[in-house]
Amino acid sequence: MNALFREARFLLGLKSAVAAILCLFLLSAVAVGAGLVEVARQQATIARIAPQQAADVAAIADWASREKDPGNAAYYTFHATWDPPSDLAFAAIGTRDVSPYVLRVRALGLEAQLYEGEIGNPEAALPGRFDFAFVLVYLAPLFVILLFHDLRSGEREAGRLGALEASAGSPRGLWRARIAVRAAGLFLALAVPFLIGAAVAGTALWKTGSVLLIVLAYLAFWITLSVVVARAKRGSLANAMTLAAAWMTLTLIVPAIGHVVINSAIPLRQGMELGQRQRTAVHRAWDIPKSQTMDAFFRTHPEWKDTAPLTEAFHWKWYFAFHQVGDESAADLARAYRAGVLKRAAWSERLGLVTPGVAAQLALHRLAGADPSAQIAYQDRIRAFHGALRGFYYPYLFRDRPFGRDDFARAPVYQAAPDPGGWPGGLLLGLVGMTALVAAVGAWWSRREGL
């Protein structure tokens, strides 16, 4: 314990180390602040849309309730869906800045509506967000390298090594205390701003704890690596270079190569083909006998089979039926597209098992519900809601029930739930595994070299 206090006092006396830890503290504080501001902005946007949406529906109800034609109501009324940021989104914004978190749909073909993009500045999205995940994954290792690369070599180069080890009684204890104090400094510089952010955002306790675990595991990896490298009796310069090269490889090069490999191994062309196929299928209905469309529709929706047969005249139920049939004809492509997005994400997790930076990044985003699988989950919720919309309008359309002003208020309302986030157990295990691997290799190597 005494050794720890001694080291803490020593560290506080080192201006450069204190400056580095303060700098990391400042960066994570700014990142947490920026994340909270962004989340507040997204929440304000969602809140702002509700009254606008209500006014839009009321304006449609004004004219559509005169004729009471359910077709007009179903055709013209859009229904809002939204994906509120989770209680941890402030720490990892993730895909929320490239995909919409508010989307309106109507009871027409869903496949033409589900993939709508958001108005975003692509040049702002390009470099990525400045959030807590970024500070942890990219910047924190640099600070680890800064504080640990010359742990021994710095003392040796200053000519103090012998005297220091002699004065400490147990040299092993001295280095342990020094590592522990510096690690604690870095951990606190990351954890304190995060905990304040979590308190402001009301983050669930298990998520807060999980993030701290990720921070701890990720720092442990870099500290272990630094200590292993620093144990070799080489100069501080060579240590710093080796570590910075490792950092560049693990956080820049390997993920970039992994991205190229994954995207070319799992090409996703279904998206654009899906759009064209659904459109053509929908519009073909105008050129084939109506009975052909209705037969196809009744095969999947037998409950409407006994409704009044179509005549020569236009009927909305036929119109909505061919939209549904159009969706169904593109269903295989839609499934393949969805599976492809998830498969890409799954492979990136596999890469995370051996790349700590990727593991930390993916684990934080999984917890925050801001990764591609959260995006797909939102699309699934929209799909279910759209199904409910169809279920709501079809009885009016197929049974020719008038659709009055009151009926507008009866339409299903989207029930938003922020992504619950998932426990990134596998990724954490990968982080711990990689740390253990580095430690084992380091121990084996130092025994071989007789250090």
Binding site: L27, T45, I49, Q53, A59, W63, F78, G94, V98, S99, P100, V102, L103, Y115, G117, E118, I119, G120, N121, P122, E123, A125, L126, P127, G128, F130, L142, G235, S236, L237, A240, M241, A244, M248, T251, P255, A256, I257, G258, H259, V260, N263, S264, M272, G275, Q276, H283, D287, E312, A313, Y337, G340, A345, L351, V358, Q361, L362, H365, P372, Q375
Partner: protein, 482 residues
């Protein structure tokens, strides 16, 4: 000059002897090569796919049977963004923009199926491209092999020897910079090879290739000078390394990330949903086509009747529904344009804020220069969207005019009641086949160069600042020797 070259030769020999430095140079050169090859292959694949899809869309459109023109308005068309030649060098915002727009009447859809939305989170680590290697990784490698170039000699005591032997500080630093710059050229050679290749093979203009190469040379030269200067100004290699890695992390990693946060706060963007609602609201305020007594459309009717010199709609020589469709599309399109201009105006304001940060980070300047020349920046994307919108408007109005002139008012009115009228309201499929194809044109070479120029000037200023710093460091070396 010969002294400088011999200093450079010695420094290079030293680099070759250092295993770490040599491995680093070879590995990053290989990485650049891999980036050039994969990026080129990916872009060629994308270009093929997009060509095919656009062709398929054109065919689908032309293959429509006889139809009522308004059905064709809703059948719509697809506009697919053609790939740019230099995208292999710098994909820019390509992954963050949609590539396909569904064009139809009454609505303005978004461009969908961008790569970032359908990729794993790895895309946020940066895409492997020659631009990423040259902008981000090459400077860091130069820092590694260059930080100790002068400071290391000082630590070994050979620096003082050289200075006392009469080599001036400026010559010494010049020689070191030449050697480091040579290493920089080796690691970036595959990227320059790619530039040349896309230039020769017609994918890119010679002016863009030349300016892009000039920009990257200036950028890497700036880092070379900065590294040599810092290495000369500090006492120990380790201090130089830490200071330079810090400078690198600040200007290459930190500032580009902070820039959007600053910009987003200063010029917020509306969401698509809000814009959609606002367009509908404004439309209702202008004229409600669902209201038979709407003043705007009543006035339009009076104007039309007067224009044709008749007193009743039934007496018009054209189909009044077609005229209404033309007028309605005109109203909605003017609103689409207005809101799109607002959104792009906000984005341009954000862009100006982000570009201004080039004052503290040369990476911002090279990124802007590179994307602009590769035509993979926001303004190239905006150009595509605007051309797609112009094409959509033209196509829809051609079809609306056909509804006004080629479909009789009686058939149009009776088509949803009677199959015979419906059949008569269909016009010949020849009309679809004679519609123009979507053929977006590229900005002129002069326009691209003009937009690239400011960032090139900023880069050259950075280079001049680097040279000034190196010159000062050289003079300090002279003083320290004396």
């Amino acid at each position: 000059m010969s002294v400088m070259i011999s200093v450079a030769r010695n420094a290079l020999r030293h680099l070759l002897r250092s295993r770490i430095a040599l491995t680093g140079v070879v590995l990053v050169a290989l990485l650049t090569l891999a980036a050039a090859v994969t990026s080129r292959a990916y872009q060629a694949d994308q270009a093929g796919l997009r060509d095919r899809l656009q062709h398929a869309a054109d065919q689908d459109f032309a293959a429509q049977p006889n139809r009522h023109p308004h059905r064709v308005v809703h059948f719509g068309h697809f506009a697919i963004r053609p790939a740019s030649g230099l995208a292999a060098m710098d994909p820019g915002v390509e992954a963050f923009t949609g590539n396909m727009i569904f064009l139809e009447g009454h609505r303005q859809n978004s461009a969908n199926f961008g790569d970032a939305r359908q990729s794993s989170l790895l895309v946020r680590f940066g895409q492997l491209s020659p631009a990423l290697v040259l902008q981000v990784i090459a400077p860091l490698l130069l820092v590694f092999i260059g930080a100790g170039m002068v400071a290391g000699e000082r630590e070994r005591g050979t620096l003082r020897q050289s200075l006392l032997a009469g080599v001036s500080g400026g010559t010494l630093l010049g020689g070191k910079a030449l050697a480091l710059g040579f290493a920089g050229l080796i690691i970036s050679a595959p990227a320059f090879g790619l530039l040349l290749w896309v230039g020769v093979n017609g994918g890119a203009r010679a002016s863009a290739v030349a300016l892009s190469a000039l920009g990257y040379v200036a950028y890497l030269a700036f880092w070379t000078l900065l590294i040599v200067a810092v290495s000369a100004m500090v006492q120990r290699s380790r201090t130089a390394l830490i200071a330079l890695v810090g400078a690198w992390a600040f200007s290459v990693v930190l500032v580009p990330r902070l820039a959007p946060e600053v910009a987003a706060g200063l010029a917020p963007l509306p969401t698509r949903v809000e814009t959609d609602i606002a367009v509908q609201r404004d439309l209702r305020a202008m004229g409600d086509s669902h209201n038979p007594n709407d003043p705007y459309f009543a006035a339009f009717k009076q104007k039309t009747l007067k224009q044709y010199g008749v007193s009743r709609v039934e007496d018009l020589p054209v189909n009044y529904r077609g005229l209404l469709a033309i007028e309605g599309e005109k109203l909605t399109s003017s609103l689409f344009d207005r809101y799109a201009d607002q959104a792009f105006g906000a984005m341009a304001a954000q862009g100006r804020v982000m570009d201004a940060l080039a004052v503290v980070s040369p990476t911002i300047a090279i990124r802007r220069l590179s994307m602009t020349l590769a035509e993979t920046d926001l303004s190239a994307y905006r150009r595509f969207l605007e051309q797609a919108e112009a094409y959509r408007y033209d196509l829809v109005q051609r079809l609306n005019r056909l509804q006004a002139t080629a479909v009789t008012a009686e058939d149009d009115a009776a088509k949803s009641k009677s199959a015979a009228a419906e059949s008569r309201s269909r016009i010949s499929a020849d009309h679809w086949r004679s519609m123009p194809h979507f053929a977006p044109d590229r900005p002129s070479a002069g326009e691209v160069t003009g937009r690239a120029l400011p960032s090139l000037i900023v880069l050259l200023l950075w280079l001049a600042a680097g040279a000034l710093l190196a010159a000062r460091a050289g003079r300090r070396l002279n003083r320290s020797a004396a």
